[in-house]
Amino acid sequence: MRIELQRRDAPSRRMSLLSPLIALALTMLTGCIIFLVLGVDPIAGIYAFFVEPLTETWSLHELAIKAAPLILIAIGLSICFRSSNWNIGAEGQFITGAIAGSAIPILMPEASGAWVLPAMLVLGMLGGAAWAAIPAFCKTRFNANEILTSLMLVYVAQLFLDWLVRGPWRNPEGFNFPESRTFSAGQILPEILDSGRTHYGAVFAVVLAVILWLSLTKTVKGFEIRVIGQARRAGAFAGFDANRLTIFAFLLSGALAGLAGISEVSGAIQQLRPSISPGYGFTAIIVAFLGRLNPLGIIVAGTVLALTYLGSEAAQIMLGISDKIGRVFQGLLLFYVLSCDTLIHYRIRFAAIDRRPSKEIA
């Protein structure tokens, strides 16, 4: 017997909407089995992972802080991925954005006034966009594979940041430790509410996701992105220039990753350090696909993924289980989402192995 995937005539619309929920339910179910094997009460485990972080105001704030950069980066990536531009280097664009935006507080520590923060944010976006422009240029000009070039530039950005905070941008009062001076009041992205430390990065994420969703569905540019992503030649016949779109998609996603970077540094960390991102740029790739490359879906996906980070900490404290379990949950979630998606588009067919010579089949 042979198992094969057969394309469905029309994917079910209802199942498409339900599949993330089914994936989440399957993740929880598998989670329960893992907890049972570990000798942990599964109800307590699921509660710690998915509910406990939502029960207190402060942890809701933390959820927003963790989700904001993921969403900001992922919505930019969704534009790239929809148009078949594989930008894997958002982590590097996040870092260069953070570096460019931090130039003001570090090089001009006395700078204050209403212009400082907007200038930092704009510089952050420019920094991210500039970094993303390199793989876009190499792709359109030299036909270089953007997956490789964008990924390699991540390491360049990380080492550049490392060099900056150990060398020229090191805090002069910091005993030679590798970190920049801390930003002063007017250089810090303010908190939205008094009840916690969520900063305006979260607002940027949600507002820009909605704007991007509207542009994708309602504007010609959005149509162009979808057409070129699905059928490059068809796009060419419609007069869309794929190379220009590549540049556009990279610049946009780079700018959004850069904005995420400067928001994180200015809002949450408040100084430059050798490492400023726990891999947001890579996790955002998962978020983009979990959210099915739809900016509104990405808001939900980013929040769910952020929840697994917080939940992993809650589970470590409440149940004493390893932080690796959190990673396992993230992996499970992605696995189930992808398998649900596959099963929406394909059906599984069990076929008896055909023993006739293959030429007759053909």
Binding site: F175, P178, T182, A268, I269, Q270, E313, A314, Q316, S322
Partner: protein, 359 residues
């Protein structure tokens, strides 16, 4: 082992009496720990977790502990610390330099919780202490052993980041080596990581290929020890006793013993005597311990033990002049001892080091 348990039990009984007063307000003191690596790194984070287990063993039912492992430095650290502060922890140990600002920020918001930050220097609030250990004392001894044991006269040093702590270790190692063999050389590889078994192992291989026949490391995995074992050269363990990973290879290891400090500080919270401190303790206080001197001739082990005793008694201090900087200018005059400030801000090599310090 039994005697230890006996002592621990006696200790616990004694403590039960002192902690009754506390029992009225808190049921138990909760001590919480944040680690930068996995508890299974068999290095830095592993040793901190051993300290936590010592606290549990000695203080028994009077204490409850919790930990978070692999917490990234940055925005995540602040959340992890705040989570502990909110989950009724009475004392929180944050065990990596990169948690410094996050620890200080959270300490400001939770004045009733005590905070202890390892290896930092900022104490912005009265409820935060800092602590560190003088690991360089052990590195001097390792330098002496290396110079005795090496045939090629070259040791390979796997360094993490060019911060004062690490530079201090390199300099102490060279001082020790030069006290035995003035021509001794050290080759340094900067791994730019605290924990990356693959990278550290590659560094060890490179160093051995360049003629080093002694490997020492200031990174946290057991990778270099395992490479040394495979290639048949001697090596020093890091942070914990790595003899399991190189039974024929390990000469000794600098063991970070955080247990005594953690027990002392948690007890202070129980008894209400906790006060802000800035501790930099070494061998004399038992915070830095040398693993047994193995795989070496008796005379070398005897020399190492003698130096160790002199350091413990205070008779000898590694950074005593005359010491010149790498460029030949004088750093410490004859008989002058380095101050703690000088050591903690050390960002230069001393004379005899080959290579330039990454800036």
């Amino acid at each position: 082992m039994n005697t230890f348990l006996g002592i621990a039990a006696a200790f616990a009984v004694g403590l039960a009496a002192t902690s009754t007063a506390l029992a009225a307000s808190h049921e138990k003191v909760k001590a919480c720990f944040i680690y930068v690596g996995p508890v299974g790194d068999f290095g830095w984070s592993y040793q901190h977790d051993q300290g936590r287990l010592d606290v549990e063993e000695v203080l028994g039912d009077a204490v409850e502990t919790a930990y978070l492992e692999s917490v990234p430095e940055g925005a995540d650290a602040e959340r992890a610390i705040e989570r502990f502060a909110r989950s009724s922890c009475n004392i929180i140990f944050t065990t990596s330099f990169g948690y410094m600002d996050a620890t200080n920020k959270v300490a400001g918001r939770f004045p009733d919780v005590k905070f202890e930050h390892a290896t930092g220097y900022k104490r912005d609030h009265p409820n935060i202490s800092t602590y560190n250990s003088k690991f360089y004392q052990g590195r001097y001894i390792q330098g002496q052993i290396a110079a005795k044991m090496s045939e090629s006269g070259i040791a390979g040093y796997i360094a993490s980041f060019p911060i004062p702590e690490v530079v201090m270790g390199i300099n102490a190692f060279i001082l020790g080596a030069q006290s035995v063999n003035p021509d001794f050389q050290v080759k340094i590889v900067w791994a730019n990581t605290w924990f990356d078994p693959g990278k550290e192992s590659d560094a060890a291989k490179t160093l051995i290929d360049q003629g080093a026949d002694i490997i020492t490391q200031h990174t946290d995995s057991t990778g270099p020890m395992q490479v040394a074992a495979e290639r048949g050269v001697k090596a020093f363990g890091q942070a914990s006793d790595m003899i399991k990973f190189g039974p024929e290879t390990q000469l000794t290891s600098i063991i970070d013993d955080w247990g005594p400090y953690y027990i002392e500080r948690v007890k202070a919270v129980m008894e209400g005597t906790w006060e802000q401190v800035d501790i930099w303790a070494g061998m004399a206080e038992g915070h830095v311990v040398m693993a047994p001197y193995t795989n070496m001739p008796e005379d070398v082990a005897a020399m190492a033990e003698e130096t160790e005793q002199k350091i413990i008694s205070g008779e000898f201090e590694s950074f005593t002049g005359p010491i010149n900087k790498q460029d030949g200018t004088q750093w410490l005059a004859e008989g002058e001892k380095a101050t703690e400030e000088q050591l903690l801000g050390m960002n230069f090599y001393i004379e005899g080091v080959d290579g330039t310090l990454p800036e």
